[in-house]
Homo-oligomer: 273 residues x 2
């Protein structure tokens, strides 16, 4: 099921401070060179902004495993879907179309592009106590619709994927964009996974950018997890999942750079292989 080699999966950050214009220039340049690309995006920051404006402020929690999460009740899921699949996805597609890129936006629910199990409750730590939150609508990608991706790539489309998935029962769920990108990269047999963020890569002493860790040998990745702060924990998990799934190289790189994808591929950032 390998696609023609050279496929790159790029996750664009959902955090504040990422300028989409240079990123879209970069995508257009790559596509112009005949490279195969799949883009995955986030949307956490904009979802928070819109949710706040709609009178449904976000509730950020820390799971018992230490990951930062968003508590996604049904109303939050619907706002999340609206923002990621409507606002961010179409804004990216429009920018890419302006540059002549045959961008095609989908979310994981469309054609069951991304299937996953729904996690209907969340175990969190709050004020030092373990609590259980019900009515949770998140999940983890377990299966990727490879034929659908292949069909689109074969026809010259650049898939732009919003981080939603669908359960076997047909429930829409919110998924982590980094790990979704990792699952897609592994399933499609991608060469490279690039996770763009708003720091230069994994930092030994966050937030000091001069402490960037430039290389991590694949076998030693576990030893670096103590350096991962906040959302970086999940990115590192994504890197690990992609490499375990057969992806040759994963790069944590700076989405704020001028040519973020090109610089990542040139080795700027934290390269794991």
């Amino acid at each position: 099921m390998e696609l023609s080699s050279g496929l790159i999966v790029v996750k664009i950050g959902g955090a504040a401070g990422i300028d989409l214009e240079p990123l879209c220039d970069d995508v257009a340049a790559f596509v112009g060179e005949g490279r195969l690309l799949v883009l995955v995006h986030g949307g956490s920051h904009e979802t928070d902004v819109i949710a706040e404006r709609l009178g449904k402020p976000p509730r950020h929690v820390t799971s018992v495993s230490g990951h930062q999460s968003r508590y996604t009740d049904r109303e939050t899921l619907e706002i999340f879907a609206m923002v990621v699949a409507g606002r961010i996805n179409k804004s990216l597609v429009e920018r890419l179309q302006r540059r002549g890129v045959r961008a095609l936006g989908l979310s994981g629910v469309d054609g069951r592009l991304l299937e996953g199990k729904r996690k209907s409750s969340l175990k969190i730590v709050e004020d030092g106590k373990v609590k259980v939150l019900r009515d949770e609508w998140s999940g983890i990608v377990e299966r990727v619709n490879v034929p659908l991706f292949r069909m689109l790539l074969d026809q010259g489309y650049v898939p732009v994927v919003a981080p939603l998935a669908i359960s076997s029962a047909g429930e829409m769920v919110n998924v982590d964009g980094d790990r979704a990108a990792a699952a897609i990269a592994a399933a499609l047999g991608a060469d490279i996974l690039v996770l763009l963020t708003n720091v230069p890569g994994l930092l030994r002493a966050f937030p000091d950018e001069s402490t960037l860790i430039p290389r991590i040998p694949r076998a030693e990745i576990e030893g670096y997890s103590p350096y991962a702060q906040g959302r970086m924990k999940r990115k590192l998990l994504g890197v690990q999942e992609a490499l375990n799934g057969g992806v040759r190289r994963a790069i944590l790189a700076d989405g704020r750079a001028d040519s973020p994808i090109r610089q990542a591929l040139a080795g700027r950032g934290t390269v794991v292989e």
Copy 2:
């Protein structure tokens, strides 16, 4: 470029009062019988609700040609895109997936599914005077990406289309869902176009539902336009455009019915052929 015959294009209303559950049951039953379907939806009502909640109340205007329109400045366009491509589209796709339908949601910007010219200003009549509104982001569908539709239908997907289009310059624009459905039906060589709304069809004396006009011979459609009130004017225009484009039959029918598509195909509503 004709698809296998029997294709039905159904436009689902964007007005209040439409229950999506029976509609989705109906879609699932049709797809289960092996019928080919394309769904197009609106979103005017929900866009108004969300825009209001976001502090950007909608501005409804009457064009010089007498059609009711939404003034779509850039901010309104972005809210419209968010609501139609994110909220309504994914909600429909999720409901259909729950019923085992291989629904795949797209907007007209995705893969240039629907191309159209941007109308960047709007001539309206207000207080009896003609005014020009700039910064308008709407358009009319001029070209349909038939190979993309065909590829999806061939693979057993049911396309669910949000009413956006893309200009040749790559600008996203808001389009009328009824006329978009008509353009799609004509381009794909559909047999039948069903426009569901929140009335039983074209009424001789709106809103008296007992005055339903059951049949209109194609050649006489112009003579019936005086009966069309409000949004019905544009639906009748869509019917005309579809028939001129080669669609055999167009039906204006009640989206509030129990089996709205089945009842429409059985001849309930206003049938034009």
